[in-house]
């Protein structure tokens, strides 16, 4: 395909859309789908036909505010910004929605969410909710693949790397490693065959940013990987996606086929000598396979266990070849960076953390869903403005970022401008983007215990500190929750945190102690209350009555 052909496709799609007087966009990403938005879409189609009006019903990707689903956005095709957003729409509402087109909106369904979207800068999510993720042409109609063609025909690989480096993009999977530097290392590494891997094994509890991108805008990831392949000299790419995301897998599979048919993957892409294709590999239910060397082992057909680094995958990775491995969100930033320029991207965010970050806002928060905010925005703004604050009149206690590798941040740090460094300084980390809000009904010791149980069950078992250390720490935390622990137990726990953190083979073990350490830093009094007074101020732990394990079975959570 050439640039001109892309423009033609875009024009065709736009014309088709504008041929309808009205369009009804229904979110068919997993959140709304689980609320039967597919049936809703069918009902709307039926009502649209029955009404005889010239309106088009489309399925789109995630619109962001998952808590308010199923979401439907209606209005004139040419005026996207003026469209009305309906929340909590069900099959029975279909007729009313169709009848409201061009008339007064249905008041009881209207979502008034100015504060939710205010301040968000969609880059990774710029197409989510606006295109049908199962139609490549719709992606093309929103400047899709312009960046790839521009890179292939008008830039050399080094210039592409320079743009990424200049943009300041850092790994969005959690590590925050400078992306341009990683690409440069792989490009310079010696090897005739190189690989590009997309880490879509999103394993953190509460994180669904990557799933959303894969379900709502899969072509974006393909384009990003192809550009990366061109930049580093790789001809083959793998998307390693967890098998627990079947919708993402089917959409990505069909997206790859469509890209191939349009000549955007395969040999002689866009008439150049660049050849690149992508295969999907499924995970098998192991959180540890999100660790890059374990992921590589898994693709190689071996047990998903990490390997000591060095050597790093950039030099010796998949089958010993130089391998670029980046997260879904990292690749998703690439097309826009190339299209709008590195300076534009670097103009967003803070000095060392450029661009935006997608967060999955969950827990005790009014507006649960995905938000994409510029780095530098404060936690307070995200939680209390965009997030709508803590519901049911309860008091904010802490926000957990970085999943089982991260930490809890208390109220005193809410005015922290988000950046990789700032989060580490307060004892947490950016992680992949999970952001779990907790109120005064959360017991911080039980939170630490929850994450330790996760690390213990997900440990691959290769190295002793993680395999046996997480089990010992979990037992100690359970003892504390049950009110049977002594001060000596707490000291032992703290010592084990140090040993496991410094001697584990991979990031899973090294970061498993983080939730314990961060809750100890800010909520030590809760630990002491459990130990000295057998008291849990949040009312969660049994502390001498029923053991914590039994409570867990009864459905009581942090």
């Amino acid at each position: 395909m050439t640039s001109e052909e892309l423009v033609q496709v875009a024009e065709t799609v736009t014309a088709e859309r504008q041929a309808a007087d009205f369009e009804v966009n229904v979110c068919v990403a997993l959140g709304c789908l689980s609320q039967h938005s597919d049936k809703l879409k069918d009902a709307l189609c039926a009502e649209a036909v029955a009404s005889g009006r010239n309106c088009r019903v489309r399925g789109t990707g995630c619109m962001g505010l998952c808590a308010a689903g199923p979401l439907v956005r209606v209005g004139k095709p040419a005026e996207a910004a003026a469209q009305t957003l309906y929340a909590g729409v069900h099959e029975a509402d279909a007729r009313e929605v169709i009848e409201s087109l061009g008339n007064k909106p249905v008041e009881r369904l209207e979502a008034h969410l100015d504060t939710y979207f205010h301040g968000q800068i969609p880059i990774v999510l710029e197409n989510s909710g606006y295109i049908d993720p199962e139609k490549i042409d719709e992606y093309i109609s929103r400047d899709g693949y312009q960046a790839l063609i521009h890179a292939l025909t008008e830039m050399d690989p080094q210039s592409v790397i320079d743009q990424i480096a200049k943009s300041g993009l850092r790994g969005r999977g959690g590590g925050g490693y400078p992306t341009g530097l990683k690409w440069s290392t792989v490009a310079k590494a010696v090897g005739t065959q190189k690989y590009v891997i997309c880490n879509a094994d999103e394993g953190d509890p509460g994180a669904f940013m990557d799933r959303s991108v894969l379900e709502s805008d899969p072509q974006r990831v393909i384009e990003g990987m192809a550009i990366a392949g061109y930049a580093v000299g790789a001809s083959k790419g793998y998307i390693y996606v967890r098998a627990e995301y079947p919708l993402a897998v089917t959409r990505m599979t069909s997206s790859l086929q469509q890209a191939r048919r349009r000549g955007l993957l395969g040999n002689n892409i866009c008439g150049t000598t660049f050849a690149f294709d992508i295969e999907i590999r499924l995970g098998a239910g192991a959180f540890v396979c999100g660790e890059e060397t374990a992921l590589i082992a898994s693709i190689e057909g071996m047990r998903g266990q990490p390997r000591p680094r060095p050597p790093y995958p950039a030099v010796s990775g998949l089958w010993g070849a130089p391998t670029l491995i980046n997260n879904v969100e990292t690749y998703a930033n690439v097309p826009t960076i190339l299209r709008k320029g590195a300076e534009w991207f670097a103009g967003i965010g803070t000095e060392k953390s450029k661009g935006t970050k997608v967060f999955a806002l969950t827990g005790k928060i009014t507006n649960t869903g995905l938000v994409e905010i510029p780095m530098g925005m404060t936690l307070r703004e995200i939680i209390f403005s965009i997030g709508g604050g803590v519901p049911n009149g309860r008091k904010f206690k802490a926000v957990q970022t970085g999943g089982p590798s991260g930490g809890c941040i208390p109220e005193e740090h809410l005015d922290l401008p988000i950046s990789y460094e700032a989060l580490i300084e307060v004892g947490s980390m950016m992680g992949s983007g999970g952001m779990i809000v907790m109120d005064d009904t959360s017991c911080m010791v039980n939170v630490a215990r929850f994450f330790m149980e996760f690390c213990m069950t997900e440990s691959c078992g290769k190295c002793i500190p993680c395999r046996a250390g997480t089990a010992q720490m979990y037992q100690l935390l359970t003892k504390i929750c049950d009110g049977r622990a002594t001060h000596a137990d707490l000291e032992l726990l703290i010592d084990l945190c140090d040993v496991v953190k410094n001697t584990s083979l991979c990031g899973l073990g090294m970061t498993a102690p983080n939730p314990v350490l961060s809750t100890l830093r800010y909520f030590k009094h809760e630990y002491m209350e459990h130990i000295e007074h057998q008291h849990c101020r949040a009312g969660v732990c049994a502390c001498g009555r029923k053991p914590a394990n039994e409570l867990a079975l009864a459905g009581v959570t942090a």
Binding site: T457, T503, L505
Partner: protein, 237 residues
């Protein structure tokens, strides 16, 4: 003319040593009689850096590195022993003793066990961590050998020797984390597996997890050094 070998000079525990570029810090340390404890390492088998006993400190890095896989670099400054490393090594041993059921007094490898001797050399006299006492099986289905899971430390030497030296790959690991188990074939009883009965896994097993039925009491010395000898003979051919 001989091919020039790339030589590096580095400092280990304050001692200047020289090494070939492809050597690991562990190899060079042992050549110079500097003791670094190991459990999963065995000369002749690939290194996995799993047990973390051989971790060393490297100047200008806050991280610790497993010396069994760390390649030497020019000017590197390595510390192999410090109070911190000693504490870590003792804790790792304690984690092992507490993980499964290691009763030295009744074990076939009492007196010939690397876990036991490493504990002694590291000054471990008791285990602070609570014993887990898991319920683990014994597989005595093989006519010559016994697998006692209670004594296994998951060093995977058996897996590696069977795959790399014998070429049969009968042993592998099943499960994940603390529930991991070494198994033969697809968790078939050892006696019914594709085992070739060569006995190398028994010889390389550092504890009494794998043992020979013909041995009495704890009269069961092992000879794992045969592995590197086999490698050498094969290379000569």
């Amino acid at each position: 003319m001989s091919v020039a070998v790339d030589v590096k000079t580095l400092v280990i525990d304050g001692i200047n040593v020289s090494a070939r570029a492809d050597q690991t810090v562990l190899e060079v340390a042992r050549e110079n009689n500097i003791a670094i404890p190991t459990l999963c390492h065995l000369d002749g088998l690939s290194d996995v850096g799993a047990c973390r006993m051989c971790l060393v400190e490297v100047k200008n890095s806050p991280k610790l590195f497993p010396s069994c896989v760390l390649k030497v670099e020019e000017g590197m400054e390595v510390t192999t022993a410090s109070p911190r490393l000693k504490h870590y090594r003792q804790t790792i041993l304690e984690l092992l003793f507490a993980e499964r059921n290691h009763i030295c007094s009744v074990c076939v490898s009492n007196g010939h066990c690397e876990l036991q001797s490493t504990a002694q050399s590291q000054g471990l006299t008791h285990v602070c961590l609570p014993y887990r006492n898991p319920s683990l099986p014994i597989d005595a289905s093989h006519e010559r050998f016994v697998l006692d899971q209670n004594r296994c430390i998951l060093c995977t030497r058996c897996v590696r020797v069977c795959a790399e030296i014998e070429g049969a790959h009968v042993w592998d690991v099943m499960g994940r984390g603390i529930d991991s188990l070494v198994i033969t074939d697809l968790h078939d009883p050892w006696g019914e597996s594709s085992c070739t009965r060569c006995g190398k896994c028994v010889q390389v097993c550092p504890t009494g997890a794998l043992s020979d039925k013909s041995k009495f009491g704890s009269d069961h010395p092992k000879y794992p050094e045969t592995v590197s000898y086999l490698n050498m003979m094969r290379e000569e051919r």
